[in-house]
Amino acid sequence: MAAVKKTLSIDCVGKPTREINAFIRQAADDGVPVVELLNPQARHNLGVCVLKPIHIVIRGHVGYYAAGLSDHITVEIHGSAGWGVGDNLMHGEVVVHGNAATSAAPSIRGGTVVVKGDAGPRSGISLKSGLLVVGGNSGYMTGFMMQKGRIVVCGNTAKALGDSMYQGSIFIGGSIEELGSGCEIVVPEADELDDILKTLDHYQIKAPKAFRKIRSDKSLWNFNKHDFAAWKDVL
């Protein structure tokens, strides 16, 4: 059997996205452990639909949907990410060393998305499982309509935090500008905190002094006419 190369590099300049992604998928098929993308130049849809285990190192900024609809991959983005980084991730890990734009980790079904800097609005929107960690601040409507899983934001969050979340939990280290509809602030359990601190340590993110936990208060689970104040904004 021919020896499998440990790391393959591809320079994105002048190559169509389709070719770059096909290159990554082929490498994964061939059992190459690491692929390195050079000069991504904020291109969209890099690392989309890679379904076999591989480690992808992206040396620069990426555009929309980096590592979207993928499974079993681990990705390092040495730059910032555009909208929807890690979209619909099934299993695996995406680490953004810079900031992430709107809708980081939208609707992920598993795995971990880490944004070491700040994340834009609607981070963790419709989260269905898995973990989103934001080292800095996170924008408007973080965790909107979240269904399951966990979001950890070490910094501050903007308005409508956790709005209409069904289940799952959000942990906030900084300030909360405004809580969204249908959720409540509670004190985290010791084992949850333990787990979060271990995760932050693993990703070398400085932990804040304390966390507050946000979860659904279930008031929006079923319509209740006696609670119109809660429903008028969400129906």
Partner: protein, 442 residues
């Protein structure tokens, strides 16, 4: 002496329906929700058009001998595996959750026998649907319930949902009784919850984003299958142009008559535009973009028979898209199990209680006892028969207008019965044939 019987003098403003509606809201404390479609009687409709088949000025085709082609292909010349439909008909996206598994099975079996497609709808792909449906459209919706790259890869077409005729601008509703353990697990929701799903996609907003989203989905399908986008007919010309700019393979829309499993009644009755009004507008927008041939136009909302389908095609649609009619073929509104309709406070023909999850005939329910009332094989046979009859009707109009392809029907094959529909569609008024009446010259 008894006063003579006279009809009641109901107010036009405070009609009994308006009074009932207010009193129901006074009881519920929320807007009314119902299934199926608007109950308005005053909408311009496809019935306001008639065909003007061949006579001496044009020759008809023989119904028994001469071929009349019904096949249509989506994505031809654009993707590796275009979607070939043997008839210009698609079963609309209706979720497992809104529909029972038996209804899903029966529709998939019938569609496969007829060489047409079914569509997953909102709740994710039920494995049996893929098994039974030879041509399966997978919806990609704001809620992303059950979305996985693996299921998207199994699609014969992906339909990005951005709205539907019954409730343009709002998200889905599935009330708690229908949120069974299985439905909830597929959607990652707690069982019994009243589901409200998003009206906007979580990770794109405008058409420039959509362009990127399309590229992402094409990467998933390896650029092999077509991708369509579905909207509710409202700002249709602009929506069509934007979708064409994003370079989808097909545009799906349904008019305000479009069906639903649950929508606010007020939304059903007062939002969106009627199907007949939307088609010409949409087709014209595609012509303007120079993409009418390339991008297929799929039209739904109140399509009942082959005449409706033929008229849609003559106005510029390539394919019709139906939800309610095949449900009726399954048995919806059938006057059986009358006591259960009564228990719901309704009767067959006016039912529209799909939102309750207590469908008397086993179509829009998740209760095993009710689901068992829908025999899959018999129901599939009824839907197949209906689709066959409808196809024959479609061909009947095409042949009688002298066309050997259903897709060759055009606006000149019709006349409008009302001035309104003539104005909307550009189809000449009956009796005028596009001329000024002779007497008007004197």
């Amino acid at each position: 002496m008894k006063p003579p019987l006279r009809p009641p003098t109901y107010s036009g403003v405070w009609h009994p329906n308006a009074i009932d509606e207010i009193q129901e809201k006074a009881e519920l404390g929320r807007y009314q929700i119902r299934g199926q479609a608007t109950k308005r009687h005053d909408l311009p409709s496809l019935d306001d058009l008639v065909f003007t088949p061949a006579g001496l000025s044009r020759m008809a085709l023989e119904g028994y001998r001469e071929k009349c082609d019904t096949r249509v292909t989506i994505g031809e010349g654009r993707v590796k595996r275009p979607l070939v439909l043997e008839r210009p008909i698609m079963i609309a996206g209706m979720s497992f959750g809104a529909l029972s598994i038996n209804a899903k099975r029966a529709l998939a079996i019938a569609a496969t026998r007829c060489g047409i497609s079914t569509c997953t709808g909102e709740g994710g792909m039920h494995p049996e649907e893929r098994q039974y449906s030879d041509k399966l459209v997978v919806q990609y919706l704001p809620s992303r319930y059950g979305t996985t790259p693996y299921d998207l890869k199994k699609a014969d077409m992906i339909e990005i949902g951005a709205g539907q005729g019954a409730k343009p601008g709002t998200g889905g509703v599935l009330l708690g009784l229908k949120m069974s353990d299985e439905v909830a697990a597929m959607r990652d929701l707690p069982p019994g919850v009243d589901q409200r799903s998003g009206c906007r996609h979580p990770d794109w907003m405008g058409v420039d984003d959509l362009y990127m989203k399309l590229e992402e989905l094409r990467e998933v399908t390896n650029y092999e299958v077509p991708i369509s986008i579905k909207v509710g007919a409202a700002r249709i010309a602009n929506d069509v142009k934007l979708a064409a700019k994003a370079d989808v393979d097909a545009i799906v829309f349904d008019g305000m008559e479009g069906g639903t499993a649950a929508s606010p009644t007020i939304q059903l009755d007062h939002a969106g535009i009627p199907t007949v009004a939307a088609i010409a507008e949409a087709a014209e927008a595609l012509y303007e973009m120079g993409k009418k041939e390339e991008i297929k136009l799929i039209v739904g909302g109140g399509i009942k028979n082959g005449a409706d389908a033929a008229k849609c095609i003559a106005l510029g649609a390539d394919i019709v898209y139906m939800g309610t009619a095949p449900m009726i073929a399954l048995n919806c509104h059938k006057p059986i199990y009358q006591e259960d309709y009564e228990r719901l406070g309704t009767t067959p023909y006016e039912c529209q209680h799909c939102h309750t999850g207590l469908c008397p005939v086993g179509i829009t329910t998740q209760l095993p006892k009710l689901i068992a009332r829908l025999d899959v094989e018999e129901a599939a046979q009824r839907v197949e028969n209906f689709l066959n009859a409808m196809t024959m009707e479609l061909q009947l109009f095409a042949r009688s207008c002298g066309k050997n392809k259903v897709s060759d029907l055009d606006p000149n094959d019709m006349r409008a019965l009302t001035r309104d529909v003539s104005l909307m569609t550009g189809v000449p008024m009956v009796g005028l044939n596009g001329r000024t009446p002779m007497w008007a010259k004197y």
